[in-house]
Amino acid sequence: MDFYGFIVGGGSTEFLIKTVSMVFSFLFFIYTLIVYRQTIIMIKTLTVSREKIISFISFLQVIIALVLILMSLFLI
């Protein structure tokens, strides 16, 4: 038994990894949505010259989180 098999007890590792990655990617998606919303509020509070770049990076994280959900659903 290798190190990984020792940790998970030799069970269905594929199922475990898929479940964990799906749960974490979904939680990450919710987190990025909240951060994006909060970024918009922050930009309203303090209007700066590079506000579009800042909101774009926060939005990009939401897209990445969606891609991660898809990856954990279909790639594993």
Binding site: F3, Y4, V35, M42, T47, L68, L75
Partner: protein, 179 residues
């Protein structure tokens, strides 16, 4: 001369003189004189933490490389890297939007302690009773940054700028505006 001095201060600096910004409750005739953020040196702990997370990820990759399939490896790494990048972004936002603003009319302190928690304190110059500065530690003394406490009269919230650069200069500016 004045132009070249102003060009040196862009919005990403921690001590910005007359930057091109506006804030939510700014009045039409109100001009922003100073925008203060925590000194970059005070941000080193979270940068180091993020780098440690990257190193840990590499170590975990080395340990589990032979135990995972390629697709599992890709998904787990994509997730981990996204978490770490999100950690950096979260801390950057907290740094960037945690500002102290000195205007021609008042002092405003915008605080996002955890990004999700907003706290805005402001006071007009006539209500300032006492200003004190504190530069705790060797780094603060060496890089010239510290905390500024502005005590206000009555039931108004006290204003506090944390780890801002050149605290003595900021205090002088505020004192001059109060007089």
């Amino acid at each position: 001369m004045e132009d070249s001095k102003q060009k040196q201060h862009n919005i990403f600096h921690s001590y910005c003189i007359k930057p091109n910004i506006r804030f939510e409750s700014q009045q039409e005739d109100e001009e922003v004189l100073l925008v203060l953020r925590p000194h970059p040196i005070s941000q080193i702990p979270w940068i180091i933490n993020g780098l440690i997370l990257f190193v840990l990820l590499i170590l975990v990759d080395i340990i589990f490389f032979n135990s995972l399939t390629l697709s599992q490896f890709i998904v787990i790494n994509a997730l981990s890297i996204s978490f770490i990048v999100a950690f950096f972004w979260f801390n950057f936002l907290a740094y960037f939007f945690n500002v102290g603003i000195v205007t021609t009319h008042r002092i405003v302190d915008v605080n996002y302690n955890t990004v999700f928690y907003k706290d805005v304190a402001e006071t007009i110059y006539s209500k300032i009773e006492d200003i004190s500065t504190k530069s705790p530690g060797i780094l603060a003394s060496f890089f010239d940054y510290g905390d500024i406490y502005i005590q206000t009269a009555g039931s108004n919230m006290n204003v506090r700028f944390e780890s801002v650069p050149k605290p003595v200069e900021v205090t002088k500016t505020i004192t001059n505006l109060s007089d």
